[in-house]
């Protein structure tokens, strides 16, 4: 982990000096998380792709303002989230939260063990309940649990303070629990 940080700092230093190849490596490292963050916000693969590409370009041009030694990912994710928010248009045009479970991991209910089938159904129900939450709740849960972002990264993505992430997440989990109970 420490080695990775050092390597990332070295890439950042080179990118700041205009080394595009070093920056490409940084893009390679962070593109998946960046794309998923943008996708959670836009709920459109095309918009997310555009947002992330533009965000990486803007981040490169803003590298001179990036504080050396600070973690790069939260800084980058904030730019990505801003770009994604700029692209978010009327919700009516958007697909429903289209997160799905891996197709290949869905058990064929008829032939699967009862416990496994039950667990799969519970996961489906949990995902459906999360999808029914409002955007604020969905984003904080999505960032923390589905994307595995740290509190600092979630704060940067949502444009709030770390303390707000904690309280927002706590309330979102409470509402999620109620959604699940409503499903019975």
């Amino acid at each position: 982990m420490a080695g990775e940080t050092i390597a990332e700092e070295s890439l950042l230093t080179r990118a700041r000096e205009g080394d595009v190849r070093a920056y490409e490596e940084l893009v390679e490292r962070h593109q998946e998380t960046a794309f998923r963050v943008a996708w959670l916000i836009t709920r459109s693969s095309a918009d997310a792709e555009e947002a992330v590409q533009d965000a990486f370009l803007k981040a490169y041009r803003a590298l001179g303002r990036f504080r050396a030694g600070a973690p790069f990912r939260p800084w980058l994710l904030r730019i990505v989230a801003n770009e994604a928010r700029n692209r978010r248009v009327a919700v009516v045009r958007r697909e429903r939260l289209a997160l799905r479970l891996h197709e290949e991991r869905r058990p064929a209910v008829a032939g699967a063990a009862e416990a496994e089938a039950l667990a799969a159904a519970e996961r489906e129900a949990l995902l459906a309940a999360a999808a029914r939450l409002d955007e604020r709740d969905r984003l904080v849960i999505g960032a923390r649990f589905f994307l595995g972002l740290s509190e600092a990264e979630t704060a940067a993505t949502l444009g709030v303070r770390r303390g707000t992430v904690k309280s927002r997440l706590s309330r979102a989990l409470g509402r999620l629990r109620k959604e699940i109970e409503r499903d019975g």
Partner: protein, 301 residues
């Protein structure tokens, strides 16, 4: 609550996110096509606010992705000798360009006809034209090839590295596409068949307008033109233009390897190329030179 969090963490492992597009090469291409950025290092550390890094960088002012053309004239400087040095540089640059054109003309004349490809033209920044004995046998017509992502003009404008030019007096466009795969990005407009613009079997539309930043994407697109097709260089209101009449191959060379591949090409028929500042406009359709020229004359912002 802990149990719910545990279930969410388990759920995350089974989520099927959309595939992440490969962005590194695309971002790198755009950056290489653009001016080298200035990354002034801060001399004094910025006071730390909160726990995350500066939000100023997170809300950068919108800027064109690729800056405009490089400054070709010397900056005004102080001192009596500077302007003369600039003028000398200008003259030198002009001589170099002239020499390159003469060399190219000489090369075209000197290369035997049997040679596989001859560089025919150096005049357009965004597109090269090669004369070839014959087209590759596996060349195919591919209507709607590489148009890009459907969008609107209003949405496309801020994402382009150039100000697009639009033909006037036509019905349409009925399609606006932004192609992120071209350095500096390219804009494609489709116009439906209409009087004077019948449907082309190569594009599937009446008129296809393809625009790109010739400075950002030098030689990105190209044409292979067989001997029986016509290439004519001429001027439209003082601007350089090339008319290609007859079946030819339209292709692009990815900036990653700069090599031709048949998969990156399609058959095309008549096309007019016009250079307007940093914008290279390509008009393609089943029409003659006079029609294409008349459309090119209406191009405006």
């Amino acid at each position: 609550m802990a149990e719910l969090q545990q279930r969410l963490a388990e759920l995350a492992e089974r989520l099927d996110f959309p595939a992440t597009p490969p962005l590194a090469a695309r971002v790198g291409d755009e950056l290489r096509a653009a001016e080298p950025p200035a990354h002034p290092r801060r001399t004094t550390p910025r006071p730390r606010r909160g726990t995350t890094d500066p939000p100023r960088a997170a809300t950068p002012r919108p800027r064109p992705v690729t800056p405009g053309p490089r400054r070709t004239t010397p900056r005004p400087r102080r001192g009596a000798q500077r302007p003369r040095r600039g003028a000398t540089r200008m003259r030198l640059a002009l001589l170099v360009v002239l020499a390159a054109l003469l060399l190219a003309a000489g090369a075209v004349a000197a290369v035997p006809a049997t040679r596989h490809a001859v560089l025919e033209l150096l005049g357009l920044r965004g597109e090269t034209i090669e004369r070839v004995p014959r087209l590759p046998e596996n060349a195919r017509a591919k209507p709607a090839w590489r148009l890009g992502r459907p969008t609107t003009l209003a949405a496309a404008r801020p994402r382009l590295s150039f100000a697009p030019l639009l033909p006037a007096g036509l019905a349409g466009p009925n399609g606006v596409f932004l192609n992120y795969g071209t350095p500096g990005r390219s804009l494609n407009l489709t116009y439906p068949p209409q009087p004077g613009l019948p449907r082309s079997r190569f594009t599937g539309v009446g008129l296809l307008v393809n625009e790109l930043n010739g400075h950002a994407a030098p030689g990105f697109y190209g044409k292979m033109v067989p001997r029986d097709a016509r290439i004519e260089r001429f001027g439209i209101d003082g601007r350089f233009a090339v008319w290609v009449e007859g079946l030819h191959l339209f292709f692009y060379k990815p900036t990653t390897d700069h090599t031709f591949h048949i998969g990156h090409s399609r058959l095309a028929a008549n096309a007019l190329l016009v250079q307007r500042g940093n914008v290279m406009v390509r008009l393609e359709g089943k029409f003659d030179k006079a029609t294409a020229t008349a459309i090119a004359r209406t191009l405006g912002r």
